[in-house]
Symmetry: C2
């Protein structure tokens, strides 16, 4: 049975109000300060945040929901957000949606019930309905990495389309014409990056067969299978662009398992979301790198603004990503 403010009131002879005031940074007589401190120590008193929240309607807690904790992007993102937020005195509730829209909607409600002051979500849904409860409860939300129609809230991301276009253009500059893509067709990022790929091809006047365009799901398995198929084609592509980390992993794995194909001699590879990966595999991968840390910082900054009453129009902020050099791309003739 943990000690309550009442116990320390009895112990010190002071009123609840005084204790509470002191505990919240208010001024009390030095002698009372000492008494309270002593009682707190002796009784191992800790505020009951539940009780406090019930009256203040604030929890100094932020909810973060990610589409899949297993994904490296999220692990890294959570790490940064966690360190910034805890530095600012905020607690953090992390929820994993396991790529399920249902779970994601539940997570939002769960966090609302926990009365978080705001949330950061890296979504799986591409439909903003799941955010309605938060909207209704007037709990600010900032989306990260992926946005959606009528989201009506801030979003921190990169310009996926442009980034993908620039990446593919690099391949084209190296005289590749048979360029394949392995992407996810389910989520915002996958779709936008695919558009960027098309943009680059169009701009260069290139066209590629449907068999070069693998549009599936965000999963290592899909990357693996797709690459296997690409390698089997009679008219093999000379370069392949993978639009996220897991797809990149799978694709690399498939190439590595095929003794007759080497990168970059037989096939050039361009990946997405560097997570140490580029260092541990041979050859060093060319990678599109998202500024994960900066995205986390920006998301927190924006959310805190909203929590503190800023009601300006929703912002869509695009961060700068960059291309990390490697030697997985061969320059053709």
């Amino acid at each position: 049975m943990p000690a309550t403010i009442r116990d320390i009131s009895k112990e010190t002879g002071l009123s609840l109000a005084t204790i509470s005031k002191y505990l919240n940074g208010g001024n009390v007589l030095p002698e009372n300060r000492v008494k309270i401190e002593a009682a707190v120590k002796e009784l191992h008193y800790e505020v009951n945040e539940i009780a406090r929240s019930l009256v203040t309607k604030k929890t100094r807690t932020i909810g973060v929901v990610v589409y899949n904790v297993e994904c490296a992007f999220n692990g890294s993102f959570l790490h940064y957000v966690n360190s910034i937020l805890s530095e600012k005195g905020y607690g953090l509730l992390i929820c994993d949606s396991s790529n399920s829209e249902r779970k994601e909607a539940e997570n939002i409600k769960f966090l609302l019930n926990k009365k978080v002051d705001g949330m950061i979500v890296v979504p799986v849904s591409s439909n903003a309905d799941f955010l309605k409860p938060a909207k209704h409860a007037e709990v600010p939300v900032v989306l990260v990495d992926r946005t959606m129609k009528n989201a009506d809230c801030d979003c921190i991301k990169i310009d996926n389309r442009e980034t993908a276009m620039n990446a593919v253009t690099l391949l084209i500059k190296n005289n590749h014409k048979k360029i394949a893509i392995i992407c996810s067709a389910k989520e915002y990022t996958g779709i936008e990056r695919y558009k960027g790929y098309r943009d680059a091809l169009n701009q260069a006047g290139l066209s590629v067969p449907a068999s070069y365009q693998k549009k599936g799901i965000h999963a290592m398995e899909y990357g693996y299978e797709s690459m296997k198929q690409l390698l089997k084609l009679k008219d093999r592509p000379t370069a392949v662009f993978m639009t996220n980390y897991e797809l990149t992993l799978g694709a690399v794995m498939a190439v590595n398992e095929s003794p007759s194909f080497n990168c970059p001699e037989h096939i050039s590879l361009l990946g997405f979301d560097d997570m140490i990966l580029s260092h541990v595999i041979q050859p060093r991968m060319y990678m599109v790198v998202q500024p994960v840390k900066e995205m986390g910082e920006k998301a927190v900054e924006q959310l805190l603004k909203r929590i503190n009453g800023n009601h300006e129009d929703s912002l869509e902020i695009n961060m700068k990503s960059h291309l990390k050099r490697g030697n997985s791309i061969r320059s053709l003739a």
Copy 2:
């Protein structure tokens, strides 16, 4: 301003108690059920879990604290724990300690303040002091992966020492005599695995120079640096055992960057904690694999027992790990 039970009381003309009872699965007259349902829908009523918890002293929420969300082991572990727990109707609060003992201690308090019903912790500390507050509050804790002296709570892990010994023995069976190790000397797992390495050497009557024994921290950078140094030795080891995922990554990276050394021709590699890694790098790595999923299941099972009042003596449960074959080990003459 969200609707309260009081609002729906006014709306329906029923008492608070009746509403509350119904909301908690109690029986009420069919007509009243209808009224309540209607009011709930109309007013968008959602229970205030904060208020509920204040009186019930239960939150149906479990806290999970991991030493570092960025580590692949934790990402995977969280994924499994999350899915089991949410299936059972429990909410999940995830906290990251960022490898900091201070942060870890704070996390425990944070979760206690949030009144979690229990917690699962994959610790960074090797001293059980940080668990005292939980002990004091009588909130059950189950440790995972790492344990410590006077932890006095359940722990789900593998037999690290034996596992390491078996792993190194494989190297010995392949006639390796110059076997190096790269391990962390800071945490329980690193220390135990080092002992297993020594056991295997002793048993085979082998002895190795101090320069073969890299005892540092759990970080990719350390694995990288250590491997660089090992490769520079005049009397190079023929095989290296890395005792966790991040060290393995770093070591592989170093080998890959050294054009004059190839695995397994010049150096055999044996890693720990397979996280897809073994598939994406060439050659396929030999790896000690921990049963992450099973560990998560067991941890949850054990915790729920404790939450439901089981007060038997603390258990230390060792799960079975296995060795995943690859071709990163060369058999010497």
